[in-house]
Subunit: 481 residues, 2 copies
């Protein structure tokens, strides 16, 4: 019997709909005619009810890709589950076979050894391939048009790690994809495998390192000359997993370590830079000048995730957990083994993004979702505002979608391939919670606080999700899989 626990908010109930809509309705403005490409977005949407109490649906739900195909002023919508080996096994059984988040001991014996990957975190395009990813497993390749799964991908046998990050970085100069896997030898292991793939997606570099302790390494920083692994004390321990405890737990007594490696370097080149206890996850951007590495990331005083407990038993702190965009700077030639932190914004939030054409390079403009804007009230919780920040002036523009609405990650799309950095559009999915449906809103990146360029109205809600990316038609034309 397919029966889900009642949702806290009706808008956040499972959808489980694989859908096609040709020509999404335009209810405001016009779709820019020249926008040609697809906005892919990854959401988590459990297909079968979990047998786990208080299952982490956002982290442990089946991955679904929603896509908006832009062409000649028309936008077509498609949503498809990521047909991971896990999804296929559960589909055949007609029920959940996999248990708690990242806990293989909780699985039905019939699926022992099968990949637990869900492809529910990010979807991106590189070297002619569309990837859906979750950091606990190898990526899945998808057909960019139909969203059908092609299968789990081990880079033609080259992927030695058991995992691959959902946050690879793309070097706009070389076309390389730079990525890593953590817990690379399996759940609880401190090993990190670092890879570079050339523009065609072929692995051309691999290095293994060991972290000071095992933790969630969700995102990282890549610059032209360095890669940086942030080790944040959201720790994991296989013994906790065996006991059925949450996979990650917050250690307020442990330091933060930033592991710096030259691009294509090897383990002997690794240096750890240490800082006091704090939380950070997503990176807006990072760059270096040969000596100094700058990393911009929302930083909170403590653990951001209410569902991962504090090892000391301290309750979740909704105020100290707020993240503020900050800049970490490492002096790679300095004597010290620390790093500095400078706050860049007083507005708390998460999901920082940038003009990806500047990834690994100096940049001066980024996007972020905000939970609070002092002096402004908005009914409901969650991400209520989208902010664009000029990192040179500190000036922030703010988009407010209206009352009882929340936002997904904002995605920048250049006005043209050669448009100046940060000049273009921002795509954002808006949850119209009172109306139980969603919009795709197109904003002018330079006038986020102005009237949207266009509002596309879906007749149903889509699940709030995690990450997504714009893939231009020119890139899609290079598909090899």
């Amino acid at each position: 019997m397919v029966r889900f626990p009642p949702p806290r908010d009706p808008f956040d109930a499972p959808m489980r709909v694989e859908a096609d809509i040709r020509g999404v309705q335009v209810t405001q403005g016009e779709v820019p005619e020249h926008l040609d490409g697809t906005f892919y977005r990854c959401v988590a949407d459990r297909q079968w009810p979990s047998y786990v109490e208080n299952d982490l649906e956002l982290f442990n739900g089946d991955g679904m890709i929603i896509s908006f195909r832009f062409r000649k002023g028309r936008v077509d919508f498609k949503s498809r589950y990521v047909r991971t080996p896990r999804f296929v096994a559960e589909q055949e059984a007609g029920r959940a076979l996999f248990g708690a988040y990242r806990n293989p001991f909780d699985d039905d014996p019939s699926v022992a050894g099968l990949s637990r990957g869900l492809g529910n975190t990010n979807v991106f395009f590189h070297g002619g391939r569309l990837y859906a990813t979750k950091e606990d497993s190898p990526p899945i390749l998808l057909d960019p048009d139909t969203l059908e799964a092609i299968g789990e991908y081990d880079f033609e046998g080259s992927l030695t790690s058991r995992t691959a990050t959902a946050h690879p970085k793309f070097d706009p100069v070389t076309g390389e994809m730079v990525f890593f896997g953590y817990e690379a030898k399996g759940p609880g292991t401190p090993d990190i495998a670092y890879y570079e793939a050339d523009a065609s997606g072929r692995l051309i570099h691999e290095t293994w390192i060991e972290a000071p302790y095992t933790s969630m390494v969700h995102d990282w920083a890549v610059t032209q000359n360095f890669v940086v692994f942030p080790i944040i004390p959201l720790r994991s321990d296989i013994e906790w997993v065996k006991k059925g405890e949450p996979y990650f737990q917050w250690d307020p007594d442990e330091d933060v370590y930033l592991g710096v490696l030259p691009r294509k370097g090897s383990a002997k080149d690794l240096r750890w830079y240490k800082g006091s206890n704090r939380f950070a996850s997503h990176i807006m951007g990072a760059y270096d000048d040969g000596r100094y590495i700058h990393i911009d990331t929302p930083v909170g005083a403590t653990n951001y995730f209410p569902w991962f407990p504090d090892l000391t038993g301290a309750p979740y702190d909704p105020v100290r957990s707020k993240g503020y965009l900050s800049r970490w700077t490492i002096d790679t030639l300095g004597e010290g083994r620390g790093f500095t932190e400078t706050r860049l914004s007083g507005l708390p939030g998460e999901f920082p993004r940038m003009d990806d054409r500047q990834e690994t390079l100096p940049y001066s403009w980024g996007l972020m979702l905000l939970t609070d804007v002092p002096g402004r009230t908005a009914p409901g919780g969650g991400f209520r505002w989208l902010s664009g920040i000029d990192l040179e002036t500190g000036r922030q523009q703010i988009y407010y979608p209206g009352d009882h609405r929340t936002l997904g990650e904002g995605i920048f799309v250049p006005a043209a391939p050669d448009a100046p950095p940060g000049v273009g559009y921002v795509l954002v999915v808006v949850a119209r919670r009172a109306e139980m449906r969603s919009d795709l809103v197109i904003l002018d990146s330079r006038h986020l606080d102005g009237e949207p360029v266009c509002t596309l109205s879906l007749p149903m809600r889509v699940r709030m999700g995690v990450h997504g990316n714009w893939v231009s038609a020119a890139e899609l034309a290079t598909r090899t899989a």
Copy 2:
């Protein structure tokens, strides 16, 4: 630019979603394990905005089939547009090419001569084939599993009429499908073609007759020995169409005619029975005893459809247009050329259905949607109650889905193939308008006023539609197309 006029009620906005949901969530009760078959339902849902002002969306919208596949206590949902030649042409153009309801003079020149069929009225199964139908055109065959269109169907060249009714009747004794086409020689023609198909779907009888005047002949009566064509003064005239006027217009000065023909009879056997001006459309059931023909139908004092004007200019009358289930009786051996009418229920409504195993035969139980129940109030308008009526006692059981909810046509499903007449389940789609989503509710046919057997909750709304049918797995197994 895909932009629709704002809907009167957000719930009635276009959906345009082709969707799949595996294992629709059960929020109340349990799905009867032994129910094995598919509930198909036809809705109208415009794919491209019409260029016609005040387009008749319900009558002129693209047909979409929604299906609920029941198997082993699980229900899978699917919705697909009926890929008529018209739909395919508009899909290629990415815009509407066909104009006002049944007005070929309003079409884009590029589609001149193409079938205007929409498949938006009824979906049924006979002789191993799944048909989607609209009465102005030939039927479309569909794949019962995928809902993909197989194509417009002319009964292997045997269909001489340009149209076929959306209300064929199925003779449970012989397995025959009995049907007709009106305006059979084209828009505005008074010709009616009458057909019988054997259990395999092969045409075995054809007769042409002429109606006293051209009118909408939406439904009709078929008994073991007779067929009856009701000619109701919702008239049509090709000259009106040429002038861009509504296709049908109400003539309050014209009589009703019932054309009686023996089953498999020919035009010379036809007899017209006349009655005073009134409105009727759907038939609950009909049977004869060799001499008397009984026809049960909701009868109103005047035109039911507000969008079809009165030829005298009289405004729409929301009270006199209400229909009350009534029995028309014709004495085929009597001297008179009239018929009698007896009211069977004081509760107004429409969409009468029965246990289809009794079609053409004496029966004593039927279903109907109600707009009003004296003494009971319910916020909002439309069909708010579903009633089961015992025609022997006159007793009516009433299902009320809750405030701000409206109902689709109720469909009877036998508890078992050999269950007594009227013993089983009633399937009904409930529009939960305040929540912007729909339920499929399973009721006990003998206890409509009790707790539902089961509530299946869709995460989105589905369009309110017209007709549907249950097709058992045993029938589906006979598919030939």
